[in-house]
Symmetry: C2
Subunit: 187 residues, 2 copies
Amino acid sequence: MSARLFSFVGGTAGAWRVTNVSTLVGEPLAGVSRLDVVSGTVSSPATGASWVLRGLTSNERYVTRPEKDQLVARQPATGRPDATCAALIPIRKNASWWGLTQDERRQVFEDRSRHIVTGLRYLPAVARRLHHSRDLGEPEPFDFLTWFEFAPSDASAFDQLLAELRASEEWTYVDREVDIRVVRAKP
Amino acid sequence: MSARLFSFVGGTAGAWRVTNVSTLVGEPLAGVSRLDVVSGTVSSPATGASWVLRGLTSNERYVTRPEKDQLVARQPATGRPDATCAALIPIRKNASWWGLTQDERRQVFEDRSRHIVTGLRYLPAVARRLHHSRDLGEPEPFDFLTWFEFAPSDASAFDQLLAELRASEEWTYVDREVDIRVVRAKP
């Protein structure tokens, strides 16, 4: 399978303890006690798994070279020892979004919603990895899975980042969103 | 599975008789006598199948609204009775291409290579359906599979279209390309 593919397994096992599952819009996801983040596909999920969400990392779809250079200079890696808080935020966008052309989507995404500029203000506090789910061969319930990691002291800044994005024009196209908060489980 | 997923099965069965398989760059594909175009995944290919290529249709990545409007106004559907010739052209682009940002890829694709404008000149003669293979969960040997249909009288125009695209800067990023020509098999 693709080395860029990841599975997020919600259930009773995994390295992350779930502290909250909030559905912002659309159908809820079942509440679970643990989250496992697995490289590749989980062909037979462990007993107790309620759901498996899959997505893969890919080339960026909107950033320009100057934006990319700023992101690369400032974005931290995942797996920092002090980043013991994390969030998995799966979203789906509606048919109107996917019917827009590339220039129209870019206008909403950055020119009017400031998605990239907003995210840059929270670097290097918040590590981020975006996974695409829409073009897998098997249909997935979400279009994107974004994984964020941050230190407990940056949790309120992370909430502020989400509040800014959710207030943007881009988010009017989001028709399903769940916010899953986790902390690293004690070994 | 996704309703946007298609499988192209090269072997000894299928509605299209293969007249030529040419490798332009990179590793060849095995020569076959028939091509089958199947909606969805082929989980157990028929006896005699040499290869199965999979890809799915998706949102456009480069066209602007004015370009899209021109394409929609002029592009024919697949399946026209007189379009008895077709071509399957799988290509892969190299890491340099995928390392470009969106604005850089658009500059190469259209501003410098005129991919969209060139294609528009061959409408409505040539029907086209683009399939994305790079972000499927299982790795595929190509990034894109493009399927073209046209009448025998438009075959030389189609060759001219390919010659123009292959001479473009965009094609310097193509590191694997095979050109599979087929005609509709007699029932």
